[in-house]
Subunit: 218 residues, 2 copies
């Protein structure tokens, strides 16, 4: 067993995973982007993430700007919510992220509109944002969606683009049904985004992506 | 986009992932074990899980028995806790799982004993179990550890085997430092366990493993 101080484990872990990465990919990303890719690998031990993470439209700077601008951040699962580094996001930037998926309002809205809770969560997130904006003298409140599970959430974001444009999207649902297609919609949207291309992703990866950016701002 | 009812998505997803699995591995596992392996793949889209999930000592039946016997279940992360199907575990079996990692007692215990919070969580979990047992006329209360993150939690479980033997372990920490070694300790322990061999695992996989067994009992 490697004798190592707890505070050094993460450092050592990143050294090891970097040594196992494809050298071409180490050169492919910017330094900040690479920190995101490495944290996705760190969270999964899955080296496919060096090939499938897409940074769209100045993604890292856009997400940092949202975090610095008192944005509202919505995750599609409580697991992703639970994994986000609140010491930085809430402690330093005073942002409390939300997940509406299990809220009573969401369940009622989904029933009433014959839709999924994931879709209802998107609609209600925009309503919450509009309310905050209107109580804020219409000063813009950016909105960030972090999706690690439900492709239908991405599909709904895309359907509503005629009315609402999110300021940032993490598009990382995992799975085999509609996942690739939903990510394609986000690619076509031109919205600043970090996308896990293909079938892979997940709540843990979604949280890891946000945390990698937060740690750059700590 | 595939038009599909939300309730059919999971079924379709399992059909697709099964069709992509290695035929040899479909024959390798028991029917119940295969449901665990498939749910790990469903959660990650990572087909390595068809090769690296180890079922030790009648694992599925042992875990089911723990769940039916009012066991205490401890996770090492709030993410894993958040991902566990409470509709079944709490709703049907009246078990509320615990995660002690962020509790004040754990933080104080770790400081006082100059150890990690993951190690402190194991010690305090056994203390909680003993207390419950003693208030229960010493009727045995099984204890289950679900570890998706901290290899040190597994190392501590192993260190304490002279005194305490857990009734079941999910050994699924992810990473590059001490992870493989810690899993080896659990393999040598002969305790009923589900182990994600190698570097892979994670809080999401840990929750998925429990959920796959819970769904068999729903």
């Amino acid at each position: 067993m490697l004798q190592i101080r707890p505070e050094d484990i993460e450092k050592k872990s990143f050294e090891i995973l970097t040594s196992k990465m494809d050298e071409e990919r180490l050169k492919f990303y910017s330094a900040d982007e690479l920190l995101v890719v490495k944290r996705a690998i760190h969270t999964t031990a899955d080296f496919d993430y060096q090939y499938n993470v897409i940074f769209q439209n100045n993604a890292i700077e856009s997400l940092k700007h949202c975090i610095q601008s008192d944005s509202m951040i919505f995750t599609d699962t409580n697991m992703a919510l639970s994994g986000i580094n609140k010491r930085i996001l809430t402690g330093k930037f005073c942002i409390t992220p939300h997940c509406l998926i299990s809220e009573t309002d969401t369940i009622e809205y989904a029933k009433k509109n014959n839709t999924t809770r994931a879709v209802a969560s998107i609609d209600l997130a925009y309503q919450m944002r509009d309310k905050k904006q209107s109580s804020n003298n219409e000063k813009k409140v950016p909105i960030v969606f972090a999706v690690g599970n439900a492709p239908t959430a991405l599909i709904r974001i895309n359907e509503l683009l005629y009315k609402y444009k999110p300021d940032f999207i993490i598009a990382a649902p995992v799975g085999f049904v509609n996942v690739i297609e939903a990510k394609e919609l986000i690619k076509q949207s031109n919205i600043p985004a970090i996308i896990c291309d293909g079938n892979k992703g997940g709540s843990n990866v979604c949280a890891a992506i946000i945390n990698a950016v937060l740690l750059q701002m700590a």
